[in-house]
């Protein structure tokens, strides 16, 4: 038996009939085609599927799609506004906070929530705030730097226009 689920995802309304066992992450990826949210484990350890549900960071593999009924969701695809990268995205780029990039959407979404709750975290607070996400490439060194750098950018309002950092010129 299928259930109706209506959500707002990245500002857009969606309505689908889904199986009750469908995980939210599969709904986002398979029904909405939002494949930026990744799956890295079966046990809710890795955090690659982190999104925002009503402004709060959630591992989207820990919710059924039907539990998202009436909720407003933001995925990695919805973070950049009007073609302008979110300062956290820019900081991950500038600080080389990613290598293979698979865990990155989850880390960026978790970091965005962290900074929304604590705009000026200490290094220790960053590390504690992101311990639900795993990365195998970076040793976390540049992820910490990226979050620190984003915190700085975001606290100096209005947000500085991000520089496009290609080319070494």
């Amino acid at each position: 038996m299928k259930h109706k689920v209506s959500t707002t995802v990245n500002g857009r309304r969606h309505e689908h009939e889904v199986e009750p066992r469908l995980l939210l992450v599969h709904y986002l990826r398979d029904n909405l085609g939002l494949t930026g949210t990744h799956i890295g484990c079966d046990t809710s350890q890795c955090g690659a599927c982190t999104i925002h549900v009503d402004g709060k960071a959630v591992k989207s593999c820990t919710m059924f799609a039907v539990q998202a009924e009436g909720k407003s969701l933001t995925t990695i695809e919805g973070l950049a506004k009007d073609g302008e990268l979110h300062p956290i995205q820019q900081a991950f780029w500038d600080e080389h906070g990613l290598q293979c990039g698979y865990c990155t959407p989850g880390f960026i979404m978790a970091s965005a929530y962290l900074l929304s709750q604590n705009p000026n975290p200490t290094e220790d607070e960053i590390r504690r705030g992101l311990e639900g996400n795993l990365c195998r490439c970076t040793g976390y060194v540049n992820i910490v730097k990226a979050v620190q750098s984003a915190a700085k950018t975001m606290s100096t309002a209005p947000a500085k226009k991000a520089t496009v950092a290609a080319g070494g010129n």
């Binding site: 930026g36 990744h38 484990c41 079966d42 780029w93 990039g101 698979y102 865990c103």
Partner: protein, 784 residues
């Protein structure tokens, strides 16, 4: 854009905009119209005879397209799993391996059946309905016992469990050294079995088009051309009928080099079921079935003089091969050839034994053989220093190969290209504040606290590799690298490489090289890789820190050929002799007359026109293969500072310094990133990670991320990095590899620090992982 020097610059990555916005393309992001989903049924037992498989209920389940067992693939897939000779050409026993078990399963997770259904959920539901009856057999788990003649066998009916037993150099090679010795230290050193765990599990999507007899495979692979070679061969297709596309790859660390059973079965299913088939590995499947790394132990003896001069080594590697021989499993025997490390020895006796067990096969994992060698020699050198009451720095300095001795032919005839080991050591000692730390350690010891400083002066051989060494090691194909550079009429530059990045940033760094060479805007250059339908006829993949040192040089050479043709054409256009044409800053001009010039773009456009020198063909493109004359030899010093909590046994990594030398650097940001990630993998092997099987039943106990401990962001302190630069004479770019360096160096630094911390208790050696539980028990025992 002004012409600037891009090689050596911190150029931000081109890959990143798509990856930070959710627009990357990983394997699970692909599908094909009409695709069916595969779920594999796997053995829950480590070793058993298959009595029967009942698929009746599964076949009737909703959405099921078909249920298949081994006999359905007979005639579809031929041959056995490839096992490259690598460094052990003669193997005694290589069990036959068909991608799906028919009569016997030999590790937990081996495939016995597969369900195809309309959706993933339906495939998984139906897989649960398959009834397999097994006769359980004894599981062979202990490597030492497995070598004994009376041991049960990992494969029924086998004569023994010995896959290989090769003596590179016999005892006579080190006899003289041991006779001279004032001291001999002995140790057994374990290398814990670890799981690579790339954040993206594997996956395969295959579409066989029956009318055209063309197969397209999308998969997460470090090595698409080799997959095409193996799968086409097994399916009875020409390589030209098969296209392998490896899109963005979410990490590999060696686990996506070799072909896997699913890489054959999914394409075969597409041909059988006449529709596209998709399979995405779950994390549990990944930890259970993706090849593991390490899983070895070493018996080592080192002979030295009283003054700390190292004389000789005798070592035997015992390697847990697993239930089958991984394609590049025997490469791990290179640990023997690298056992001497950065030091001079009179003689090294080395033997490797590969032993079959009922675990998943081992294969290269970041560093493959070289982390084991570093761990072994760096541990042994510390043990000699402890015995002689010498400072670990002093004993290293005394035995280093000296800068003026390069190229240095080491004990196994390998030629170390360049190095300056003292320089990296000096810098690392300065950065860590070694003298101060020793004083602090003495103070803390008085208070009953356990601070340790561990040094790892590592070296590596990488950049595989010269054809003379690698063609025999793979069974015929030299691990050289290919490149193609194509310039379109309007001056766009397309660069194709046979390597394939899985996080290393090749789309950024390789165009940096070409931009400098051609003097054209960086933005006009694009790197393409990961698709066997594009570029040269064969590529060799990314592993063994080879992409830059082999692939980058091939790109540079292909670019050079483009320039050479450009010079001929420019000479014709400028009515000058070819030898008078100078190419610089993106422009061809006549020597001494910089105003008589043609820009690269003009020459590119002209190359597609009609006014060409006699005999010249149209177009501006070139292919190059680079067969390196030698391997490259990075080196460096890592120092770990650890304090162990006597109450809990927890080893807290307080500081970590890494000074590495990979020759000339193309992009320092990316080099640092490689060291960060690599070092943390080595640190994690030393402190946290271990694949644990039940020693009796062969049940995997660490099959999820709950049980298998990966380091999280809370565990790792900031790493302090620096570099020395000793260019490699092996290639014209002067580059060495850096992808594996951190992992090669790190475990020895951490364990040396722990042993140093615990030395007041009389503890000389600690095996990995140095868990709080293990250390607490050792400290308690020692304190008695």
């Amino acid at each position: 854009m002004a012409v600037t020097q891009l090689v050596g610059a911190k150029v931000h990555r081109r890959e990143d905009p798509r990856l930070i916005t959710g627009h990357g393309h990983f394997i699970d992001d692909f599908t094909r119209t009409g695709a069916a989903y595969a779920t594999f049924v796997r053995s829950p037992l480590a070793h058993a005879r298959i009595k029967s498989i009942d698929v009746t209920d599964a076949a009737k389940a909703p959405g099921v397209v078909g249920v298949y067992t081994a006999r359905d693939f007979k005639g579809q897939l031929a041959g056995t799993h490839p096992a490259a000779p690598a460094f052990v050409a003669e193997k005694k026993y290589v069990p036959e391996r068909f991608p799906i078990a028919e009569k016997e399963v030999t590790y937990q997770g081996e495939i016995v059946a597969v369900v195809l259904a309309e959706s993933r959920g339906q495939a998984a539901d139906a897989a649960n309905l398959i009834q397999v009856e097994y006769d359980e057999l004894p599981a062979v788990m202990d490597v030492e016992k497995a070598m004994q003649s009376g041991s049960p066998k990992a494969h029924e009916g086998a004569a023994d469990n010995i896959c290989w037993d090769l003596t590179y150099t016999g005892p006579e090679v080190s006899d003289a050294a041991f006779k001279e010795a004032d001291v001999v230290v002995k140790e057994r050193i374990l290398q814990n079995r670890v799981a690579p765990v790339p954040m993206e599990p594997r996956g395969v999507l295959a579409e066989y088009e029956g009318f055209d007899k063309k197969l397209t495979i999308w998969m997460s692979s470090q090595n698409p051309h080799f997959i095409r070679l193996f799968v086409s061969g097994s399916m009875g297709l020409k390589e030209s009928q098969v296209r392998v596309i490896s899109p963005d790859v979410g990490g590999g660390f060696g686990s996506k080099i070799s072909p896997y059973p699913e890489d054959y079965l999914v394409p075969a299913l597409s041909r059988i079921a006449e529709r596209p088939v998709k399979w995405i590995e779950t994390r549990t499947e990944s930890i259970q079935n993706a090849t593991h790394g390490r899983g070895q132990y070493y018996d080592v003896e080192v002979a030295a003089k009283k003054d700390g001069t190292l004389l000789g080594m005798r070592m035997t590697q015992f390697l847990d091969v697993g239930a089958y021989v991984g394609t590049f499993s025997a490469f791990q025997a290179c640990a023997c050839l690298m056992a001497g490390g950065a030091y001079k020895w009179k003689g090294i006796s080395a033997r490797t034994v590969g032993v079959l067990t009922n675990r998943v096969p081992t294969d290269p994992y970041r560093g493959a053989g070289r982390p084991e060698a570093t761990h072994l020699v760096e541990r042994m050198v510390d043990l000699v220093a402890l015995e002689l009451k010498m400072d670990p720095v002093e004993i290293r300095r005394k035995n280093f190969i000296q800068p003026q001795e390069f190229p240095f032919t080491q004990n196994f005839g390998l030629v170390v290209d360049s190095g300056d080991y003292d320089k990296a050591l000096d810098r690392a000692l300065e950065l860590v504040g070694y003298e101060e730390l020793r004083k602090k350690q003495a103070e803390l010891r008085k208070q009953g606290r356990y601070l340790g400083i561990g040094i790892s002066t590592w070296i590596e051989l990488c950049g595989f590799g010269p054809s003379a060494a690698t063609a025999p090691a793979t069974g015929g194909i030299a691990l050289v690298e290919s490149a193609q550079v194509r310039v379109t009429p309007t001056g766009a530059v397309l660069v194709y490489t046979g390597t394939h990045s899985h996080g290393q940033g090749h789309e950024t760094t390789f165009p940096q090289i070409v931009a400098d060479q051609l003097g054209v805007p960086y933005d006009s250059i694009e790197l393409r890789h990961g698709d066997t339908a594009e570029g040269t006829s064969f590529g060799y993949g990314t592993y063994g820190s080879r992409s830059l040192a082999v692939g980058g040089v091939a790109i540079s050479r292909a670019t050079g050929k483009v320039i050479d043709k450009g010079k001929k054409l420019a000479a014709h256009m400028l009515e000058a002799a070819e030898e008078d044409i100078v190419f610089e800053h993106g422009s061809f001009h006549v020597k001494g007359s910089p105003d008589k010039a043609k820009a690269f773009g003009e020459v590119a456009f002209a190359s597609y026109g009609m006014n060409l020198p006699q005999g010249m063909e149209q177009g501006l493109e070139a292919v190059a293969y680079f067969d390196p004359p030698n391997l490259v030899w990075p080196f460096g010093t890592h120092i770990a500072v650890v304090e162990i909590d006597a109450e809990t046994g927890h080893a807290q990594l307080q500081k970590y310094v890494a000074v590495d030398d990979c020759g000339n650097i193309i992009n320092p940001m990316i080099v640092d990133g490689q060291i960060h990630g690599g070092a943390v993998q080595g640190i994690a092997q030393a402190l946290y990670e271990e694949v644990v099987y039940d020693e009796e039943t062969g049940q995997l106990k660490t099959g999820t991320m709950i049980d298998y401990m990966l380091p999280s962001i809370g565990e790792i302190p900031p790493l302090i990095l620096d570099h020395t630069v000793t260019p490699s004479p092996t290639n014209e770019l002067g580059v060495k590899g850096i992808g594996e360096a951190g992992t090669i160096a790190a475990s020895a630094a951490v364990i040396n620090a722990i042993c140093d911390a615990l030395s007041p208790l009389g503890i000389k050696h600690v095996d990995m992982p140095a868990s709080p539980d293990k250390l607490w028990h050792m400290m308690k025992e020692a304190g008695k």
